[in-house]
């Protein structure tokens, strides 16, 4: 297990959220969509210009921009 920022995850890689460092509105928006510590997800893919990123999480698909993913720390295999 290693901890990285969500931005650096590869397509189709799985991970588990360990921390959300965003505060204010961004933090609120991230959390209300279920991106809280302990949640497992996988990277579904990225838009044609590599930003935003699409995640598969708790049975639905969620998108966020790379600079928003920077605030989320993830534990991944290997």
């Amino acid at each position: 297990m290693q901890r990285i920022s969500m931005r650096y995850m590869k397509d189709h890689q799985s991970g588990r959220i360990t921390a959300v460092r965003a505060r204010g509105e961004l933090g609120r928006r991230i959390r209300e969509m279920g991106l809280v510590p302990g949640t497992a997800f996988s990277v579904k893919g990225r838009a044609p210009l590599k930003d935003p990123v699409a995640l598969r999480i708790m049975g639905f698909t969620l998108t966020l921009r790379n600079n928003e993913a920077d605030h989320i720390e993830v534990a991944v295999e290997g």
Partner: protein, 737 residues
């Protein structure tokens, strides 16, 4: 008296579909007081009981940071519905329950509709509704909103909840030792002070103080400043402590704990997964193609082009009917009324005004039909996903793409449905910036102006010129959006944290209801104002009349010409008949008489208020190369850009020129000494950027929620367009063009 039932739930949970299934066409669409968010209500009858159903805005949470959330929360707290039906998407239960818990915590009677059970089932998710009901302490009814399955059971359960008199027991969620301790300290204080007791339970108010919820804290301040200060002090203490020990803050911890509680519930035998760990859902398979890095953009371009052609080709047909109808009406009035001011007002002010308003209807209806299908199917949000990166550079949002394209991003659109299409944008700042920049696109009404000028001065390379014009308008619009976002609409970008909902076949009912609502709203709200402005512009181009002796002068010349002609020739053209073969002498006479009429029209136009404005503006407009004739045409273009070509025709004493048949005017401009290619290019730039037509202005004001922004686009765009046109003209002259 009927009881009120509020429908709450996440966006894409099938809330609106359920609302439509319950109320059918018996809906009323209005606005929440003072805001542009729609309020839909309808009636539902269960045996002999009447219910008033209100569709609250879709939200993911119940904080006070988005307009939708504030509206939903305020409605529940102040209107006190007999029961809140919370629609929960069974396929993503965890996330949906986050909102459910918050509604339950508000201490209102709740009934959960466990929707899309069919989708969940195909995904191998089985949910034990009874177990969930037992754990949450509220009724849970499985439904399939699309087919209406379970809606009767749901309403029965809701009616039972509404009939109960005892207040529902609030769930006992633990938020961890620090928060729990603070809550137990704050709750008795709030209870004793009766703080906001009319609206919220004490524990909920305490939670909001810990979350530093601005709305509740300021309401608390207003109700009891001393108590509020004390509560804020406790909240501040907890915040400092959490920051120090756990590097977090109360609001984040409360959210985390809420999800922890949900996970706890789900683990207690609520969900059974049928070994679907790595199964790809149908939606994901479609996404592999539709948002593929290579194929995605190509398919998107194809879909958008198709939508465009579909809209404009189909709306052409009823548009022609309408135009024929209005011109028949115009002919009827023309034939049966005596010449005079009232007739002119009726024809040029009222009939043309109403015709202008109604003329937009087909395009609005078909455009919204197309957009609603794309939106309801789930594709539109994927377009936003693919293009967000580009729009983000300019301070906009991926969802801005649709309004831009509809407005004429592919030349020939219309800013009116474009402006109305900004409603799909949920982020206020990006939405406003989009609203204010879509009129720079080349709508169908600007095209005849461009065609006229291109034919006159750039005929050697029409297609290339049109391409350059399209590029300039896109570049200009995006750069101005950027400019607005770093000046008057400054602010951090709205997060792109969005759900890509599964693809779904849109329901016919949903699409039709949505399309009708939009079109009706346009007609009702914009129509009346537009008619008034149309009459005002008519007056500006009509008054004051030419002095009597000038009119007599034209009449004398006219009579002289007739007197000089042979009587047989005069008989040949009185009364005038269409499609008649004329002798050479008669057709010469007819041309001369038409020339006199055109000259009189030119003189009348120059004499009118609009004409005087045009003449007086020549002093500054010559900097951009425009003479008074062009100025009048541009003043007229404020009514509708189509008017530019016809007014220019009148100003060049050629009579009113039909936009589609401007070859004669085009030759006239090409031969005129005051025109050269540089003048034409300067005018193209000006027409592209100056004030939108007043129909668009009215729509912008309505969508932005304030006339301030309507006035802003008129002034800002015109000043900007003038600066650009002057830069082009003067720069071009220096370079020797």
């Amino acid at each position: 008296m009927s009881q009120t039932i509020a429908l709450a739930g996440n966006p894409n949970s099938g809330k609106t579909t359920l609302f439509n299934a319950l109320t059918g066409a018996r809906q009323h669409v209005g606005n929440y007081p003072g805001v542009t968010v729609e309020k839909k209500s309808g009636r539902y009858k269960l045996s002999d009981q009447q219910f008033q159903l209100v569709d609250l805005p879709g939200t993911y949470s119940m904080t006070a940071y988005s307009l939708e959330e504030v509206i939903a929360r305020d409605f529940i707290a102040t209107e006190k519905p007999a029961v809140v039906i919370d629609i929960v998407d069974a396929a993503s239960l965890e996330r949906n329950l986050y909102l459910s818990l918050q509604i339950i915590e508000m201490g209102v009677p709740v009934c959960i509709a466990l929707n899309m059970m069919d989708v969940a089932k195909t995904r191998g998710v089985r949910i034990d509704a009874d177990r969930l009901s037992e754990l949450l302490g509220v009724p849970v009814v499985p439904t399939v909103a699309r087919s209406g399955k379970g809606k009767k059971e749901l309403m029965k359960a809701a009616a039972r909840v509404a009939g109960k008199t005892s207040p529902p027991a609030a769930p006992d969620i633990s938020y961890g030792a620090d928060i729990d301790q603070a809550l137990s300290e704050m709750e008795p204080l709030i209870d004793a002070g009766g703080l906001l007791a009319a609206y919220y339970p004490a524990r909920w108010v305490a939670l909001k103080y810990l979350e530093a919820d601005k709305q509740i804290v300021s309401a608390g301040d207003a109700a009891n400043r001393q108590l509020s200060a004390r509560l804020q002090h406790i909240a501040g203490r907890v915040e400092k402590h959490l920051n120090h020990t756990l590097d977090t803050y109360p609001e984040a911890l409360i959210a985390d704990q809420r999800f922890g509680y949900i996970k706890g519930i789900i683990r207690q035998g609520v969900i059974h997964l049928d070994n679907t760990e790595n199964r790809l859902f149908l939606s994901d398979k479609i996404d592999r193609v539709l948002i593929n890095r290579m194929a995605g953009p190509l398919i998107m371009a194809g879909v958008l082009l198709l939508l465009y052609h579909f809209t404009f080709a189909l709306s052409e047909i009823p548009l022609i009917w309408l135009e024929n109808g209005f011109s028949a009406l115009r002919g009827l009035v023309d034939a049966h009324m005596a010449e005079g001011l009232f007739k002119s007002l009726l024809i040029s002010g009222v009939i043309d005004g109403v015709g202008g308003v109604v003329g937009f209807m087909p395009i609005i209806m078909f455009m919204f039909l197309g957009i609603t299908i794309l939106e309801d199917s789930g594709y539109l949000v994927r377009v936003a996903f693919m293009l967000d990166r580009v729009f983000q550079w300019f301070g906009l949002h991926g969802s801005s793409v649709m309004p831009f394209i509809v407005s004429g991003g592919i030349a020939g659109g219309c800013a009116v449905p474009g402006v109305m299409a900004t409603r799909t944008l949920k982020s206020p700042k990006e939405r406003l910036a989009t609203l204010l920049t879509v009129p720079f696109m080349n709508c169908g009404a600007k095209l005849p102006v461009f065609a006229l000028l291109i034919a006159a001065f750039f005929a050697y390379n029409k297609a290339w010129m049109m391409f350059v014009i399209t590029l300039i308008s896109w570049g200009g619009a995006l750069l101005i959006a950027k400019l607005l976002r770093i000046t008057i609409i400054r602010g951090a970008p709205t997060p792109f944290i969005m759900e890509l909902p599964p693809y779904r076949m849109p329901t016919l009912r949903g699409v039709l209801i949505h399309t009708w609502e939009r079109s009706w709203q346009y007609l009702r709200k914009a129509g009346t104002i537009i008619l008034a402005i149309s009459i005002l512009l008519w007056a500006m181009m009509t008054f004051p009349h030419l002095p009597a002796d000038t009119v007599r002068g034209f009449e004398t010349t006219r009579q002289q010409i007739v007197a000089e002609a042979a009587p047989a020739v005069v008989r040949e053209i009185t009364p005038p008949r269409a499609g008649q073969e004329l002798s050479a002498a008669a057709s010469r006479l007819k041309t001369r008489l038409a020339a006199i009429n055109a000259e009189k029209a030119q003189a009348a136009l120059k004499h009118s208020i609009a004409g005087r404005i045009g003449v007086s503006l020549e002093n500054i407009s010559h900097l951009a190369g425009f003479d008074w004739r062009t100025n009048i045409a541009l003043v007229g273009g404020f009514a509708a850009k189509e008017v530019i070509v016809s007014t220019l025709g009148t100003a060049y004493s050629m009579g009113a020129v039909e936009a589609q048949q401007s070859a004669g005017l085009s030759r006239q401009l090409a031969d005129s000494p005051s025109w050269r290619p540089l003048t034409a290019f300067s005018l193209i730039i000006f027409v592209m950027f100056y004030s939108p037509c007043f129909v668009s202005v009215v729509c912008i004001a309505r969508e932005a929620g304030s006339w301030k922004w309507g006035a802003f686009t008129m002034v800002f765009n015109t000043v900007l367009a003038f600066i650009l046109a002057v830069a082009v003209y003067q720069g071009g002259r220096l370079l020797g063009f």
